[in-house]
Symmetry: C2
Subunit: 277 residues, 2 copies
DNA sequence: TATACTAATGACTAATCGGTCATTTGTCAA
DNA sequence: TTGACAAATGACCGATTAGTCATTAGTATA
């Protein structure tokens, strides 16, 4: 699978420079130093490459966010850490951010549009979870508005990273946005985004993690795993998905084992969702 | 010039559906019911069409925003009216919003990238002007942060119009965002966006209105104008640009005459900027 | 060394692209 | 009706594209 990685990385560079449609398969293979035929051994079509890239890079982003949100950080620093990790990701992966947050083609291909919205829904859910932890019942009807504001802050301030490379103080930025979020959360009285509205926009894309699809995902990841703690953990989890017997503590432990492997954070994230952990 | 309009409209539909690169000139001419040759009578290249469209649609948006901001509405409703007009525009021109706020290709062509950033800078200036009117000296170091927040609200909430067609209560939305803006403006204590930072990101694109370029712009618009009050006003203004003698009141009046003509709002906007009105 | 297998190549194809231009059509005044 | 001019056409061109496949290179086993 190293070849796939190489192609995705070089393609990301080119898409970020020229856009998807304007980049030819030829250019990608040239930058990779491989032949055109070799490309089609890894991906059936150019579109399949794009889909794989969307999955790979957005999964990274979503798990990044979720990890901070679910961490056991104290309430007074969690917002700061949330923003810090978001903008750290924007800084480190400016290229993928440029492609996946601005490339319109993604939205014209139905299959991709659905995927991207689905990842956005996942991220929204993480943010809502964070707000619920932070403010308990203090926010009731303004919860979703605060979530929209947070996403707005992200969109607006991320331009600083995407369109220029001015050195910025991430700590200061995170503190500043955490304060703004706090202010909005504490003082907003006129809500606009209702739960119904969120469901209306998210519903078609908010897919439950089905047992079947999860088993398939696990199967895929088992293939690439050699005998190890991670492999054993994943196999145990597979049986647990089919027939749950272990306690939540054990399940969570097994999931954490998986999460240590960088390429397995997504399957860990999905299993966690399945068991409501 | 009717042909140009037709092509731009149909092209906008197609770009909004498929993206720029994925749309062929053939498709555009088919939808217009004209031949391929006829297309090239109106536009020298496909790129020139795109540039014209960017100018046309973004000029509309910028003048919309500026008109509200410079209106003599009372302070307590100006924010609400500002948001209302913004989202009214998003609602009415969802197609162009889809293209010009999401199409990445625009950003890969240097000439267009500069143009788009330049329009963004114009809009930022309008927002800053509004904030200065509203809060005078109460905001000093947080002015630019509030501006970034407003742009973030716009980006985040505009998705409701761009990606779905759920009927929404614009008044309620505008009130809700006006309150959020007010809250941010009143309570923010930790700024991040400094004046230097704004200048760093905007400077290369923040072009002064030069006498020369303004005269050229006026000349272009005079061509398409028949004998009328508007025509006379524009000619008088042309002489005033070369040799100012009238008072500000007269100049403003003449500019307002021009602004009544829909296609002349941009030249009115530019002349206003030139005379600092 | 011989065999069997996979991985990798790049010349090739059919299709489509943006753009051109010789030709036709339409519209005037004379 | 004629002739002069502009508007509009679409067949055509060279260039480029995504994708294919017969062939070769590399490697492991026997």
């Amino acid at each position: 699978m190293l070849k796939k990685q190489l192609i995705m990385e070089k393609a990301l560079e080119l898409f970020s420079e020229q856009g998807f449609e304007a980049t030819s398969v030829q250019q990608i293979t040239e930058r990779c130093g491989i032949s055109k035929g070799a490309f089609y051994l890894s991906f059936k079509t150019k579109d399949e490459l794009l889909i794989s890239m969307v999955e790979y890079y957005l999964q990274q982003f979503v798990t990044d966010v979720d990890q901070v949100v679910r961490s056991s950080l104290s309430k007074d620093i969690i917002l700061v850490e949330f923003y810090k990790s978001i903008f750290q990701a924007f800084k480190n992966h400016a290229a993928s951010a440029r492609v996946f947050f601005n490339e319109k083609v993604l939205l014209t291909k139905k299959e991709l549009f659905q995927k991207i919205i689905a990842y956005d829904v996942e991220m929204s859910k993480s943010i809502i979870y964070m707000l619920e932890q932070l403010y308990q019942d203090e926010l009731h009807d303004t919860k979703y508005d605060v979530m929209y504001c947070i996403k707005g802050f992200m969109k607006s301030y991320s331009e600083l990273f995407i369109f220029s490379d001015i050195p910025l103080d991430l700590d200061q930025l995170a503190k500043s946005l955490a304060e703004k979020t706090e202010i909005i959360a504490r003082h907003t009285t006129i809500p606009f985004i209702t739960e119904e509205l969120v469901q209306l926009t998210a519903e078609p894309f908010d897919e439950e993690v089905s047992q079947e699809s999860l088993l398939e995902l696990i199967e895929q990841h088992l293939d690439g795993l050699e005998d190890s703690i991670e492999c054993e953990s994943l196999e145990l989890l597979k049986f647990q998905v089919e027939n749950p017997t272990y306690s939540k503590a054990i399940l969570k432990g097994l999931i954490e084992n998986i999460r240590l492997q960088p390429d397995y954070r997504w399957v860990a994230y999905k299993i966690g969702k399945y068991f409501n952990i």
